[in-house]
Symmetry: C2
Subunit: 112 residues, 2 copies
């Protein structure tokens, strides 16, 4: 059986956008997946959509975050909910990290 | 329509265990709910179980975290997955915060 503990030291960081955005797929199982995304200032999460529900928590830094037509600033402790199928994207204003949570899991994030 | 943005300043802190444990229900919608739990040193999340899948991310501090028969230390950046129905609990070793994520939502956490 796979462990239910996901120590930070066991998680590989993947480059999403060289020099700008990296990602760690953290705890996952059942209907849940946690993914931490680290952004340098000016890093972008281009607008996109997916059928999975998503909730995002700002761990550090400052972001401009767009959901549909609404854009707001996220600071640590702020969070958002993005219904499946809703367009969203972000611009990192000041170096930081977001914790993205998905239901169901983003199977497309797992290595084949 | 309810906003999809959940600024920290809009979230009420609820006492779970006076002087020891408080909770903020953060972004939620669809099949997801984020709940941040703050512990003083020695604060306890008593062992319990629920049908919801849960993933927990350690934001700050140090915890002893039990899932079934396995107990490990959680430090910031560590995370765990708890399948629905699995017993789990925690002891805060050094003041800190956990971000609990649930699927589906913990309707029992919402005020009536």
């Amino acid at each position: 059986m796979e462990s239910l503990f996901f120590p930070d030291g066991d998680i590989e960081s993947e480059t999403v956008d060289p020099g700008k955005v990296t990602r760690k797929v953290r705890a996952r199982g059942g209907k849940l997946m946690l993914v931490e995304v680290s952004f340098a200032s000016g890093g972008v999460g281009a607008e996109h959509e997916h059928p999975h529900d998503q909730a995002t928590y700002c761990l550090a830094g400052e972001f401009r975050f767009a959901i549909g037509a609404e854009t707001r600033t996220l600071l640590p402790g702020d969070s958002v909910f993005i219904p499946g199928g809703r367009r969203h994207g972000t611009l990192c204003v000041s170096e930081g990290r977001l914790l993205d949570t998905f239901s169901p899991q983003r199977e497309d994030f797992l290595k084949k």
